[in-house]
């Protein structure tokens, strides 16, 4: 099975979907002649031409709105944000236009549009370029939000996003683009939106996570396996709609849960997961659920401070040991 990067997985998904449906086009800053700020769109301009791979001015609100208008008129836009940090400027179009058009028109105007780009922190990009937006974006009815953590999931979820009749937000990760994974090239990979995946099977503790944190969760599971602790790693993959069934299935199996997320604590993804757990698994819990998340501060620049702010393996392991009552003192 070929091993490819997350970046190439996205690139293949875009290419295949653009070949499959000529209504699909890619628009954003530096996507065409520059081949993408992170090279996700490499080669697409040459293959599909400037009408379908469109460089824009630096005007996130404007080109997000252009995407919405194109979708209203029957196209299937893929709008790339150089990062979701810049997409905050465009949220009026994402939240007020794309998410609500179908509902406000009572079904007359579907919105088959994808907004995608890297989300969350990379390395030392400091406060304005290091934010994980999934809890903000997942709050809005009308949107779907996917957060692929592996190359396979990146390809399968982006393809599904492009084929979906609804606005789908694809949150990628700058730190993920170079990661590698097995992605078969002899079959069509389309991952249903809204379905979580058990990435590692275990019966001692559930570790529920998404996006970039999936890799961290797997490292933690590997490390704890050496001590004989079997972690059930649940990758949400889609944050909205959230797969309550697999969360509940896992916690009923392990009776303990840690929720690991990249973003901040208050009103975070973990808060929602904990709510589902207490509703669905109250009688199964042997310990309060513990959350691991970013420190409640804007991201600092200095290496040591940044490290301290981010969720990491040590914090996650400590949380798992806590819910297993392994560190009683």
């Amino acid at each position: 099975m070929p091993t490819i990067t997350y970046r190439d997985a996205l690139n293949h998904a875009l290419r295949e979907e653009m070949q499959r449906d000529d209504r699909v086009f890619l628009m954003g800053e530096e996507v065409a002649e520059y081949n993408g700020a992170y090279k996700v769109s490499k080669g697409l301009l040459d293959e599909f031409g400037p009408m379908r791979v469109v460089d824009t001015p630096i005007a996130e609100l404007g080109f997000a709105g252009v995407g919405v208008g194109a979708a209203m008129a029957g196209l299937r836009p893929v709008i790339e944000f150089m990062t979701w940090n810049f997409a905050v400027l465009a949220l009026d179009q994402v939240v007020n236009s794309a998410a609500k058009m179908l509902y406000m028109s009572d079904g007359q105007f579907p919105m088959p549009i994808v907004f995608r780009g890297p989300n969350g922190a990379a390395l030392q990009l400091s406060a304005q370029h290091s934010q994980a937006w999934e809890s903000w974006l997942s709050h809005i009815p009308g949107l779907k939000v996917v957060t692929p953590g592996t190359p396979y999931d990146a390809k399968g979820l982006l393809k599904s996003a492009i084929r979906d009749e609804n606005p789908v937000l694809v949150l990628e990760g700058e730190m993920l683009y170079n990661t590698k994974g097995d992605v078969p090239d002899d079959e069509e990979i389309v991952i249903p939106i809204g379905i979580a995946e058990r990435k590692r099977e275990g019966d001692h503790c559930s570790l529920i996570t998404n996006g970039k944190m999936v890799l961290l969760a797997l490292q933690v599971a590997d490390k704890l396996a050496e001590e004989g602790i079997r972690v059930d790693v649940i990758d949400l993959r889609t944050v909205r709609p959230m797969d309550v069934n697999l969360i509940a299935d896992s916690v009923r199996r392990t009776n303990r849960a840690v929720v690991l997320e990249e973003g901040w604590e208050l009103c975070g993804i973990g808060a929602q997961v904990v709510d589902y757990v207490q509703r669905e698994c109250f009688d199964y819990l042997d310990a309060p659920v513990v959350r691991v998340h970013q420190a409640d501060v804007p991201m600092p620049y200095a290496k040591n401070l940044e490290r301290a702010a981010k969720p990491d393996a040590a914090k996650t392991i400590a949380a798992i040991r806590k819910v297993m009552y392994l560190d009683q003192d």
């Binding site: 919405v68 194109a70 007020n96 007359q108 105007f109």
Partner: protein
């Protein structure tokens, strides 16, 4: 600071008077404008009775713009506007029943009772809304133009917004891309001189809004928005330019709303004077057209009254229809949040 209440110097005026068409066209215009007027007068009444809720922004005084504009569009062209949308929807061909039922929040409304006054939609006439965030729909119009070019079509998208939207970033981002990419869109500023209760001179450094066209390398024109024929002429030229040359145009329609911003503010006395209102109402587009037709012997008081009675009856019928239309089923609460037919696997 001096209060510069005077309007900017008139910009390029065409010396040739506007084409006033034939008598049938004039009758059609009178009918269209008067229908909008009577419809909205009854809307105000329904609002006072609590049959219409929320925000309700009336178009009274601005009907020459909707009427003149729609008269030059093809059926397959696109129309998009902001929240002051009743008149434009009616002029485009939405039925009074469908609009009134929407205002009443009933299931037979054009948006199933889910949009309300600010969100009128109708795919069958390419009416793309009814948008509630000032300026938010201007980039959407550019996107519709982009899609027309993408499909190598020859339709045009006409986008209406108030002059206050000129102060928001979305306007500038949209005009830049529209001109850069040569999309067939006509941007129409309905300059009624007040953004809610803030006079243009209190909010805008450059009140000659047409001049923004030059910043983006497109044609701009200012038009007497109370003269339905001048409106028709200017929009006709812009639509031709869009269809033929694939270039956008920025038009300023100088108009005035004879009512408050919405139902909650006084018509005059707070942010504008009664004297100003009375002066502007002398240029009522409906009265101007009526006078012109009377002079030409094309309509007399009796015929006007017959038309007026007919339109009032149509509006009464719309009211009765809306009143009798059922409220949306409670199931509708959760319908159309998401499109159910996913294209996956097709």
């Amino acid at each position: 600071m001096a209060k510069t209440k005077s309007r900017p110097a008139p910009s390029r005026r065409r010396t040739r008077p506007a084409d006033t068409g034939d008598v049938d066209l004039r009758r059609e215009f009178l009918r269209s404008m008067l229908l909008q007027r009577r419809f909205e007068e009854r809307s105000a009444e329904a609002y006072a009775l609590g049959k219409i809720g929320g925000f309700c922004h009336l178009y009274i005084g601005q009907e020459a713009i909707s009427t003149g504009a729609m008269s030059v569009l093809r059926e397959d062209d696109y129309v998009i506007t902001a929240y002051r949308d009743h008149g434009l929807a009616l002029a485009r061909g939405m039925t009074p029943r469908s609009v009134m039922a929407e205002l009443f929040g009933r299931s037979d409304g054009c948006s199933g009772g889910k949009g309300g006054s600010m969100h009128l939609f109708d795919t069958s006439i390419n009416f793309l809304g009814g948008h509630g965030i000032v300026g938010g729909h201007i980039p959407i119009a550019a996107g519709v133009g982009f899609a027309i070019n993408y499909r190598k079509g020859d339709q045009v998208c006409v986008c209406f917004f108030g002059e206050a939207a000129v102060n928001i970033g979305a306007f500038h981002e949209a005009l830049n891309m529209a001109s850069l990419w040569k999309v067939p869109v006509v941007f129409i500023i309905e300059n009624n001189r007040y953004g809610m209760g803030t006079a243009i001179w209190r909010a805008m450094a450059n009140q000659d809004v047409r001049t923004h066209a030059a910043s983006y390398g497109m044609t701009g024109e200012s038009v007497d928005g109370q003269d339905v024929f001048a409106v028709r002429d200017a929009i006709s030229r812009a639509v031709e330019r869009a269809r033929g040359e694939k270039t956008p145009t920025l038009l300023e329609m100088r108009t005035y709303r004879f009512v408050g911003h919405s139902m909650s503010d006084a018509v005059s006395g707070t942010y504008r004077t009664k004297a100003e209102l009375e002066t502007e109402m002398k240029r009522d587009p409906i009265q101007q057209l009526k006078a012109r037709m009377q002079e030409a012997g094309e309509i007399d008081d009796e015929a006007f009254k017959a038309l007026d009675d007919e339109l009032k009856a149509i509006v009464q019928d719309a009211w009765d229809f809306a009143d009798a239309s059922p409220e949306p089923e409670l199931d509708a609460l959760y319908s159309n949040v998401y499109a159910e037919d996913s294209a996956v696997g097709d």
